[in-house]
Symmetry: C2
Subunit: 316 residues, 2 copies
Amino acid sequence: MLYAACDIGGTNTQAALIDNQGKISLSIKRPTRQESAKALLDGAERILAELFETGGTDPAGLSGLGVGVAGVIDAVTGSVIYAPNLPLKNIQVTARLAKRFGVPVILENDSTMAMLGETSFGAGKGAKNIAMMTIGTGIGGGFLCDGKPVRGARGAAGEIGHMVIDINGPKCRCGRQGCLEALAAGPAIAARARAILIKTPEPGYLMRLTGGDPKKITGEMVAKAAADGDPAAIRVMEETGRFIAAGCANIINLFDPQKVILGGGVMEGGELLLASVRRALKETRLTSAFKADDIVPAALGNQAGLAGAAALFGQR
Amino acid sequence: MLYAACDIGGTNTQAALIDNQGKISLSIKRPTRQESAKALLDGAERILAELFETGGTDPAGLSGLGVGVAGVIDAVTGSVIYAPNLPLKNIQVTARLAKRFGVPVILENDSTMAMLGETSFGAGKGAKNIAMMTIGTGIGGGFLCDGKPVRGARGAAGEIGHMVIDINGPKCRCGRQGCLEALAAGPAIAARARAILIKTPEPGYLMRLTGGDPKKITGEMVAKAAADGDPAAIRVMEETGRFIAAGCANIINLFDPQKVILGGGVMEGGELLLASVRRALKETRLTSAFKADDIVPAALGNQAGLAGAAALFGQR
């Protein structure tokens, strides 16, 4: 059985051909057209047409096309209700693509699709209760409970980044204070490192990475400097690990998952961060028998969502 | 169809006869025997025997017996794995009661059973995605996702009270800091009111309720004083409402439920507290379209668990 996947993100749209083991035989990536819903969907169609042409694949022969969108979706009608970073509001997606390519289409939230990829073919393979947290520019996530993805009443479940863990903490872009995202996503890591550099502007390694301008600091620079042994960067990453561990502990106490999978750009090459999350979790009393080593890194990187498209068709 | 229920709590064990609409025709309450697992289970058997005798009911004619225990349970083996306030550790429960009374027995966590009672017959009737939060001496809860209770990998899900919302907040009995329970359960409410009274020992209404000794204050006194218009008590209850709303908002962003049901002793007669939770939630940006009025009070009081026993048999 061969499937196609289309993962529509705020910056890029990825498309791929995948088998029922989640193995990707061909994938392409193009910028997401942001001008309008029509431009975005026309663009997605073109990317898929290019994929099928390159692969010499007749889409009508596929077992299904899974489409992931970074937004709130209505699985029943196959519509995107709302997407914070895309020009999609109450837009029907599945019928249009099904008609164009003559293939069954399932629409899913992109984080849920990535979670399904990891739980079907990656770091959570075989488990029925999993939480996944994706830490990048924002923090997202998804839950598998008793083998089924948690979508909630309106398809808006899984917003792990907007769980407040510090009610008096820094303001989040969502309007609340002390959301996990405002403490542990890339921009928050950069902001905390920047504050340290501005207070102690000694020409250390992290400062050199920024070219001498603390304003130019990014989360990636902090991660790199920490990996290379810079003390200030290590301090910031350890604090980040404690915040992520607090978020994980909350999720463990609420869902009692077998594993918590950590993915996203901030975790990539993040041995040090993973170790500090585990260390902080070891010192945390949990209500379940979850072990710190059950915090595991994602295995499929930014292709988890594409692999997850194949799992979607087994799910429903 | 007639069912029996047995709800084993840290203080009392309740038993009841219920129909398949969750209607209780007879219920009795006796102290829970705490000396040993044997004493506790012998006691539960005696309470059930008394129930059947009083009701003139042949237990072998019942459609099922649902047993709720305040602890981590293994639904598959029908055992209590661990119960923080009961002498039960890896104790098989269902086979013993099934043999004694000749009736099918299902064991469930008490909070999950109460949640099933409210979602089947009470404040969440008809909804498939519900969160319930029970606020008393501690804070517990349960989730219904897509029509199924969330139990987690080890039956330990739903520990809403041990979700940290203030990472620098007061120490919780679980060992973490700033758990919802450490901020909004009965003892936390009493502690905050006590701190105010000690600082401003004017002979106000709340102080009179304590007989002039701030140490004697309880959560119930604070609730009563707030209802009667005492300004210090109102301040404490409004702050409590903000903490509960923060917890609700986290749960809404994670699960996207249709409703959040608030129950437990602290909520009883708590018009003022419910209003302040809703007010705080109105000012909170949520990722889902949840409305403040979807925070609703529990309808079945401390009989939700007993009613839930009937729902258990429909669930599995």
